[in-house]
């Protein structure tokens, strides 16, 4: 039902696969709409407890499809506000873990997309490049927000100013990648990781996401107060009860995400 992406749900995991391999999965207007729609669907569905965003073919995502913009006068600001920013906000507002499975190059806004996800699993063959500067632009789609928060301001400035290629290994070293996966077994390793997340208390994971992203913008007092709210909410979930019960009964808990 989508043209530029594939969407499937299996065993609690929704996978959004960017699917324009001949264009290195570069963004088009259609793709943005479809990604947002798929994110909303996955966010709402109680069958989904973990999301994966990945790409087909050799690339994860090469950023904006520049051929899509040739010869057109672009209002850059509006372009971002209409297309990219709602997609980034949708990832943030999805209160479930979102994994970027970076199968190949993630360049420009493609890198920003990966940064906006909660966890980055990176193929040993993949690499990142903050390519904006190479065409005289600045990181967008949250690039200026997430990058310094993930790798620290010093490294972030260097990567954004030079646009240099970041190998999987280097990405792991600086905390940009959570895990390096083998290229042959990439899909299986990603699925295994996602399956683990999909069995955890989803409501609480959503609250962790909410509180931590908020926390990077709040002071200690505000964060402590916010944690108290979240603990009130988490404390009333079925998964909390199950967790305590399982602990007392010395068995493994079976979480339902509720």
């Amino acid at each position: 039902m989508y043209e530029t992406i594939l969407y499937d749900v299996m065993e609690g995991i929704a996978t959004i696969t960017l699917n324009r391999p001949e264009k290195f999965n570069a963004f088009t207007e259609k793709m943005h709409k479809e990604i947002i729609d798929a994110l909303k669907q996955a966010g709402k569905s109680s069958d989904v407890r973990c999301l994966i965003i990945t790409g087909t073919g050799k690339a994860f995502n090469a950023g904006q499809d520049l051929s899509d913009m040739q010869g057109v006068e672009v209002d850059f600001g509006e372009f971002l506000r209409k297309r990219y920013n709602p997609m980034i906000m949708q990832i943030r507002n999805t209160e479930k873990p979102v994994i970027a499975a970076v199968n190949g190059v993630a360049a420009g806004a493609g890198m920003s997309l990966a940064l906006a996800c909660d966890i980055r699993l990176v193929s040993e063959k993949a690499f990142f490049t903050n390519a904006f500067i190479n065409i005289g632009l600045v990181p967008d789609s949250g690039g200026c927000y997430f990058l310094p928060r993930i790798v620290g301001i010093g490294k972030a400035l260097e990567l954004a100013m030079t646009g240099e290629k970041i190998s999987a290994e280097e990405a792991y070293r600086i905390g940009l990648a959570n895990k390096i996966c083998s290229a042959e077994n990439f899909e299986a390793e990603v699925k295994e990781y996602a399956a683990r997340l999909a069995k955890l208390p989803t409501k609480s994971i959503g609250l962790i996401k909410r509180a931590m992203y908020k926390g990077v913008e709040m002071n200690l007092e505000e964060t402590l107060e916010y944690e108290a709210y979240c603990q009130d909410i988490a404390g009333s979930t079925a998964d909390h009860k199950e967790g305590v019960q399982a602990f007392l009964e010395k068995r493994s808990p079976v979480f339902t995400g509720k």
Binding site: L207, R210, Y226, Y229, C230, D232, I233
Partner: protein, 257 residues
């Protein structure tokens, strides 16, 4: 009580009124406002109720007036009906009203919210006066109360564009008291309402009146009013009890007299 569009209940000394037209995001029609004012006045007369909570649901506090009901009106029919006059009775309620707001508080919903004394908003709240998009303007206090709440320039922006603001922005402008996770907005409002319900009610009543005086009277008049209220409280049992308890270093037991 047989209401069609609101639900009224009580929890201890707190009266709770929930707007209840979820299928139309709690659009405010004439009957709903009538029911609301009737119930507010009933709770105001009930001595055992000390604070009132007004709420909607998670998706909408109230998304505005019922447009269908208004679309075919003419100026004179509107004037004769004078449907917004009844709103003035909300401002006459003497007990503290707390709003528990989530989702849309737009148009009449925003105006209703601003009639409340304390406002707790969920993070998902959107507040605005979109009337201009329909070729009209607010008619139940929007231009007046919003301006007094957020100041001229922000009010102009909101009213002239019709675009809503987020809960966090509303907090920055002092339009709401507190922003909390959506799961907690009702709970937090009730917590605060119970705390206020424990206060001596005559003092609470005179404080509310005095604060409202500050909004549209010169300072000298307000100060004079406040001073007289302060003196008046010395006729209450709660003043005697409150001050005695303070001196005796114990918790006061207020009788409400």
């Amino acid at each position: 009580m047989g209401y069609d569009y609101i639900k009224a209940e009580r929890e201890g000394a707190v009266g709770v009124i929930a707007l209840n037209r979820p299928e139309v995001l709690n659009a405010l029609n004439l009957q709903l406002i009538d029911e609301l004012v009737t119930e507010l006045e009933r709770m105001d007369r009930d001595d055992s109720i000390r604070a009132i909570v007004l709420t909607g649901n998670e998706r909408a506090f109230a998304a505005g007036a019922d447009i269908g009901e208004m679309a075919d009106e003419a100026a004179i029919s509107m004037l004769l009906k004078d449907q917004f006059a009844v709103w003035d009775r909300i401002a006459g309620i003497s007990k503290p009203i707390l709003a528990a707001v989530s989702g849309f508080a737009l148009g009449g919903g925003c105006e209703l919210m601003m009639n409340c004394d304390i406002i707790i908003a969920s993070e998902t709240t959107k507040i605005g006066q979109p009337e201009i998009k329909l070729g009209v303007m607010p008619g139940a206090g929007g231009t007046q109360r919003l301006t007094k709440a957020v100041g001229k320039v922000k009010a102009m922006e909101m009213l002239l564009t019709g675009e809503p603001i987020s809960a966090d922005e509303a907090l920055r402008y002092g339009l709401v008291n507190k922003v909390v996770p959506v799961e907690m907005y009702f709970h937090e409002t009730m917590k605060l309402a119970r705390k206020i319900a424990e206060q001596p009610p005559i003092a609470a009543r005179l404080i509310k009146k005095s604060v409202l005086k500050a909004i549209d009277n010169p300072l000298s008049e307000g100060l004079d009013y406040e001073r007289n209220c302060f003196y008046l409280l010395f006729a209450s049992e709660d003043q005697k009890e409150g001050m005695r308890a303070f001196i005796e270093k114990r918790r006061p037991k207020f009788s409400g007299r």
